[in-house]
């Protein structure tokens, strides 16, 4: 194993190599899950085997939105209005009627949306939240923090998997905590943890 900067360990030279990352906050989110009711989870990224396996222990409905490959990431650079972007995101979501999420896994997706697109995202996701909806995301403490072209999964409650994402990385627009809560007004940040690489891991609760 070769250890790189910031304590990152690599296990293979293959392009598909994956890493894991400890999380102190995610267990706090999971331990609040009630055993006696069906859980509704939004995974904003792609379906990964480890994420499915992790949630297989729960009675739940797991929604994979695959938004990292959604055209909205290109549309936001065009002349679309916020309302048009919100309509597009709603169509992309394509969630069944009456869907209300208990847990939203945003990962670093919010940092791929500029201010206008993030407000549109906030509008589009509003109908699918309830007062106790909780979310996990990565934001930044300072705007010079960069995001790698990677995708996340859940190995265990305290361990995320990180894999290289195929394809060209979309433009990133990192948001600090203060800006994020302003643009993503459906959520308040409950807990945050600054990571060694400058990312800020946060847990949020809906503020409806």
């Amino acid at each position: 194993m070769v250890t790189g900067a910031a304590g990152v360990g690599y296990t293979s030279a293959a392009s598909t190599m994956s890493r894991t990352q400890q999380t102190l906050l995610f267990p706090n989110l999971i331990k609040q899950v009630k055993e006696d009711r069906r859980l509704s989870v939004l995974e904003i990224g792609p379906a990964l085997p480890e994420t499915i396996e992790f949630f297989s222990r729960f009675k739940c409905r797991l929604h994979f939105a695959a938004m990292y490959t959604d055209p909205v990431l290109q549309m936001q650079m065009g002349e679309y209005t916020e309302a048009e972007l919100a309509d597009h995101i709603t169509q992309s979501f394509d969630f069944p009627k009456n869907t209300l999420f208990d847990i939203c896994l945003f990962w670093d997706f919010l940092n791929y949306l500029d201010d206008k697109a993030l407000r549109a995202f906030n509008t589009a996701i509003r109908p699918y939240l309830h007062k106790s909806t909780r979310a996990h995301a990565f934001t930044v403490r300072t705007l010079n923090t960069t995001f790698s072209n990677q995708q996340y999964g859940i190995e265990q409650a305290h361990m995320f998997s990180i894999r290289p994402r195929q394809g060209k990385q979309a433009r990133t627009t990192p948001h600090t905590q203060a800006i994020l809560v302003n643009l993503l007004s459906n959520f308040d940040i409950d807990q945050g943890m600054l990571l060694p690489d400058g990312r800020l891991e946060v847990l949020m609760t809906a503020s409806l």
């Binding site: 400890q22 999971i30 379906a47 085997p49 394509d94 943890m193 060694p196």
Partner: protein, 187 residues
């Protein structure tokens, strides 16, 4: 249009070589009747399919597929725009529609599925593309593993986020992200 197999090993190949891998996969798959109807790559069916035997789709189907007690294989060249209900559903091609597997659903690495899945067991292979929802019910009480680095974070401390964590470092996983798959519900 349909060709039936009692024993695929004794039959002449009926499909182009490009499809043979998926046919072989079908032949090796659990079968409830030992017979399989095949929709070849040059066939386009617009309508509903019901029946009492297994089905392999290498062509295109628009409509519905319902084979409650049998297996449906969507081969790599299969393009299905239909809701599918079957005992076992294996997907190596493209499917747009809702999928109900009364026993299990398997999405192979070449599979591309857009729809909602209901199944007691599901396998998603590495590299498979899926957008939609999966209904899961393990059928037993939820067991939440305690976090190893059980280090509670106070709300106030977290909100300040001024202090870098000692623990959240990245570590080696010991897996290469290769051809890995998982089964749900212990399957």
């Amino acid at each position: 249009m349909f060709e039936k197999h009692k024993n695929t090993k004794q039959q002449e190949p009926i499909a182009p070589s490009a499809q043979q891998d998926s046919f072989a996969a079908s032949a090796n798959a659990p079968s409830t009747s030992g017979r399989a109807a095949i929709i070849g790559p040059g066939i386009h069916i617009n309508g509903d399919i019901n029946g009492d035997e297994n089905l392999v789709v290498e062509g295109r189907v628009d409509g519905k597929i319902r084979l409650d007690a049998h297996q449906v294989d969507i081969g790599q060249s299969g393009r299905v725009n239909a809701n599918i209900t079957a005992k076992v559903i294996k997907i190596a091609g493209e499917v747009r529609g809702d999928i109900t597997g009364t026993e299990k659903v398997i999405i192979s690495r070449s599979g591309n599925v857009h729809g909602n899945i209901v199944a007691p067991r599901m396998t998603l292979e590495d590299g498979a593309i899926f957008k939609g929802s999966i209904d899961m019910d393990p059928g037993e009480p939820v067991v939440t593993k305690p976090a190893k680095p059980a280090s509670p974070v106070s709300k106030e401390a977290a909100k300040s986020v001024e202090k870098a964590s000692d623990n959240p470092k990245t570590v080696a996983s010991g897996k290469s992200g290769g051809n890995k798959s998982y089964s749900l519900n212990g399957g």
